[in-house]
């Protein structure tokens, strides 16, 4: 029997970026907040330190900061007629675990979506006619506009100390920035990170072809910076270990560095780690969550935590799983198209390339994701799709995130992988190769969704989330087009040799591709097409606010975290300024 605890104003499930932002905003509004984080505490003073972090094996190979799949995983199949099997160790995507969540080990590319991304079905209909959108493409407009989110994008960029070059400041185009971006009210808080040699060559080649290169926006401060929470960030050291690791310089943004320290000194905030929330107790008649049930993973004891407001801010899979387990909202059925919970799972359709420049010295170990140069000419509706046979797109980037020796040695595919000849080859190509990527969109498809697995369970006996997902014809066509444009730029860079890496026909859970999973608890204009309203409030439980990329109706051609953070601030504003005064539905169905 669970021990019933004292009522609190709000409970936050999962302390990543969204959970930390909501905790901060709600305590500022005077609420007592308890955060339940199922993983360990991760304190920068202990964990984000040298020499500890310079250990590629521990962090990048053995995945120190990632979710423990012995406790919880998901099952996967490509199509509804297949048997889903558990992902026994995550590969294609790597959700984090513990305080900070996936916000510790991210590469920290912090983008805004295009204004047209937020009303994509309307835009496609206006430009190409309603018939141009296939019936199977279940995309929908967001119930919030770019203009509404803009101040919140700005806030999140300041929290994270984003380094970048504005391309559109209050409607005025600025040379050297991204001319396609929506108008921003203010410049980035920090100047761009230094550009690496390969990306600079890419930028020159792209410009020669008439494209518009610019430094990628990155939540890594290029100089010491004090964020609006009063926290001092350091300057990037270009260590080359950003991905899958934390940052000892406090330059790369994480919840742990940029916001949680303030919460740790906040009397109205309480953090409980290794607190695994197993269930939301749902009062269907009152349309509210009465309490959440969790297990203390240190003792096995079960607790019931009653709360006035429930912030569900775990990863995409956990958010969807909690709603399905509690019976909140109608589960999605792909055969009829009815129901909403689990609908519109989307991924990121990344495809890339490597180019080799014999004799050049790129010092690839000096790296930071922000040293990269991108073009946005083939993203979203930045180009005309008439006659192309697909919708969507993605930014194209020449990367320089670092090249640690186990995983970062690019080599031409026809070189030997071992033995005589291999050593010469890897020594020859290591320092003169550069990588490219296309951050392809995924436009929702009727058959791609999540539900509960009928067979496999987690360590606490709950059904795992079952992911049914495959790459679509649309996304392959999109990717071929965008990768083709990338190839044109690479040719103009005149490499010794290069290789394009198209995506295989079927999605596979190995190897690593991207942690950009979205959907399952999508936002929309009404309960028939969405799980949450424009303020991320559940249609079927007015005191439940679902945070994170699980609310994205589909995934545009950008990294999701910038929009995730903006939505957290947007949702927090609605809760503190509207919901607290008059608890109930903020949008009437």
């Amino acid at each position: 029997m669970a021990t019933r605890l004292k009522d609190v104003d709000a409970v936050v499930i999962g302390l990543g970026f969204s959970g930390a932002i909501l905790s901060r905003e709600l305590t500022k509004a005077g609420l007592n907040v308890v955060a339940l984080e199922r993983g360990a505490d991760r304190n920068p003073a202990d964990e984000f330190t040298l020499t500890r972090l310079r250990d590629e094996l521990r962090y990048a190979v053995r995945l120190e900061l990632m979710q423990d799949n012995s406790i919880d995983t998901i099952t996967f199949r490509n199509a509804p007629d297949e048997v889903a099997l558990p992902i026994r160790r995550f590969g294609a995507f790597l959700p984090g675990e513990g305080v900070g969540g996936t916000g510790i080990h991210w590469g920290a590319l912090q983008w805004r979506f295009l204004p047209t991304d937020f009303r994509i079905r309307s835009v496609l209909t206006e430009r190409y006619g309603a018939k141009a959108i296939p019936d199977t493409m279940t995309i929908q407009d967001w119930p919030v506009s770019y203009d509404e989110l803009e101040p919140h994008y700005d806030r999140f960029e300041k929290l994270c100390g984003v380094s970048g070059q504005a391309g559109n400041l209050r409607g005025k185009l600025i040379s050297g920035g991204n001319p396609f971006e929506g108008p921003r009210s203010e410049d980035y808080p920090n100047k761009p990170i230094k550009t690496a040699v390969g990306p600079a060559m890419f930028g020159a080649a792209a410009a020669s072809l008439g494209y518009h290169p610019f430094p990628v926006p990155v939540a890594t401060s290029s100089a010491p910076y004090v964020n609006p929470e009063g926290i001092t960030l350091g300057a990037c050291e270009y260590c080359g270990h950003c991905n899958r690791t934390a940052c000892e310089a406090n330059a790369k943004a994480s919840p742990n560095v940029n916001i949680v320290p303030v919460l740790r000194t906040e009397p109205k905030f309480e953090l409980r780690t290794r607190a695994f929330v197993t269930r939301l107790n749902y009062d269907r008649n009152a349309k509210r969550i009465t309490s959440v049930l969790y297990t203390d993973m240190r003792t096995g004891e079960e607790y019931e935590q009653p709360a006035g407001i429930v912030i569900l801010s775990s990863f995409v899979f956990g958010n969807t799983q909690q709603l399905l387990l509690a019976g909140i909202g109608e589960p999605y059925d792909p055969s009829s198209g009815n129901g909403v919970v689990g609908k519109n799972y989307c991924y990121q359709f990344e495809a890339g390339a490597n180019a080799f420049f014999e004799g050049r010295e790129f010092n690839p170990f000096m790296g930071a994701p922000g040293m990269s140069i991108a073009i946005d000419d083939f993203n979203g509706e930045n180009f005309d799709h008439s006659g192309l046979g697909f919708f969507g797109g993605g930014y194209i980037v020449c990367t320089n995130a670092g090249a640690p020796p186990i995983g970062g040695r690019a080599m031409p595919k026809d070189e030997p992988r071992w033995g005589v000849g291999w050593k010469q080859a890897t020594a020859k190509w290591y320092r003169c190769s550069t990588g490219f990527n296309t951050q392809g969109s995924v436009y929702a498809h009727r058959d791609n969704f999540m539900d509960l697995d009928p067979t496999y369970k987690d360590a606490l006996g709950r059904p795992l989330i079952r992911l049914t997902y495959n790459a679509t014809d649309n996304d392959h066509a999109m990717s071929r087009h965008v990768v083709g444009k990338l190839e044109g730029v690479i040719k103009a860079m005149n490499p010794t040799r290069y290789e394009m890496h198209y995506r295989p026909k079927n999605f596979t859970v190995v190897p690593y591709q991207s942690t950009h999973n979205t959907g399952g608890t999508i936002m929309g204009a009404d309960p028939n097409s969405s799980v949450v309203n424009r303020y991320l409030q559940a249609w079927d439980a007015h005191n439940l606010f679902v945070q994170g990329a699980s609310v994205f109706p589909q995934q545009p051609g950008y990294n999701p975290t910038g929009t995730l953070g903006a939505l957290a601030y947007w949702s927090a504003k609605a809760i503190t300024e509207q919901y607290l005064k008059n608890p109930g539905p903020l949008v009437h169905a």
Partner: protein, 240 residues
């Protein structure tokens, strides 16, 4: 215990006790002799003196032979085992990771599609145990009754190539998956920080020009633009 196994065990004991002193002593032929070190009292009780954390003598012989074939000695680096790669693999398989930490292990177990990833009930430690048994059985069948570590250098290369290409048909075991895991673990050992037992003297980092720690380059980006940055690599231990 067969004579063969006894010889092999004595040889491995030599590796453990003498370290790199036998750097050039990796047998190229099955008949290569064990090290001349006189059997010590310890050698009489091999279970207690096994120099590896988890690998059996047979497994260790396989791993040493494999990593020396994957990473042969030449002017760029000593052989894989002389760089500590066999020791690395042994320690990794004996680590929490090798025991299946953070791995979902509940059944039922189905083969699934390749797109669904690893679906065996085996931990990495168990996977390698089973894989080495299968590889040696295949080796004996195709190379005159000899285990893999007893093959001449050329045959070892041919055997690994056959595994890599999936042409070697192991009995009830995915040959290619085994080879890929072996290669990936060997490469991790060669290039990981020396704290884990491989990459001795940072040879692999020197080979490719990776400077290791502390990796603080803010003041070097502009100075070394398109110009090679050379530094004596430093590892975690150098700062400890």
């Amino acid at each position: 215990m067969t004579d063969d196994a006894l010889q092999r065990r004595t040889f491995l004991l030599g590796v453990g006790l003498a370290g790199t002193a036998i750097a050039t002593g990796i047998p190229q032929e099955a008949e290569a002799q064990p090290q001349p070190a006189a059997p010590s009292p310890a050698a009489a009780a091999p279970a207690d003196t096994e120099p590896f954390v988890t690998l059996t003598a047979t497994e260790a012989a396989f791993i040493v032979a494999a990593v020396d074939t994957l990473i042969p000695a030449d002017e760029l680096s000593p052989s894989g085992s002389d760089c500590g790669v066999a020791v690395f693999i042994d320690r990794q398989l004996g680590s929490a990771w090798g025991g299946g930490a953070k791995m979902y292990r509940a059944g039922p177990f189905h083969k699934g599609k390749p797109e669904q990833g690893y679906q065996l009930a085996l931990t990495p430690r168990e996977f390698f145990a089973a894989g080495i048994v299968a590889a040696n059985a295949w080796s004996r069948k195709n190379f005159g009754g000899k285990d893999f570590d007893r093959l001449a250098v050329g045959d070892r290369v041919a055997a690994l190539k056959a595994m890599e290409d999936g042409k070697a048909a192991f009995d009830n075991f995915d040959t290619r998956a085994f080879f890929n895991q072996l290669l990936s673990l060997a490469m991790a050992g060669f290039f990981a920080d020396p704290i884990y037992g491989g990459n001795r003297d940072k040879v692999a980092w020197k080979m490719i020009g990776f400077p290791g720690l502390p990796a603080t380059y803010a003041d070097k980006i502009d100075a070394y633009r398109d110009k090679r940055y050379v530094a004596e690599p430093q590892s975690i231990a150098d700062f400890s």
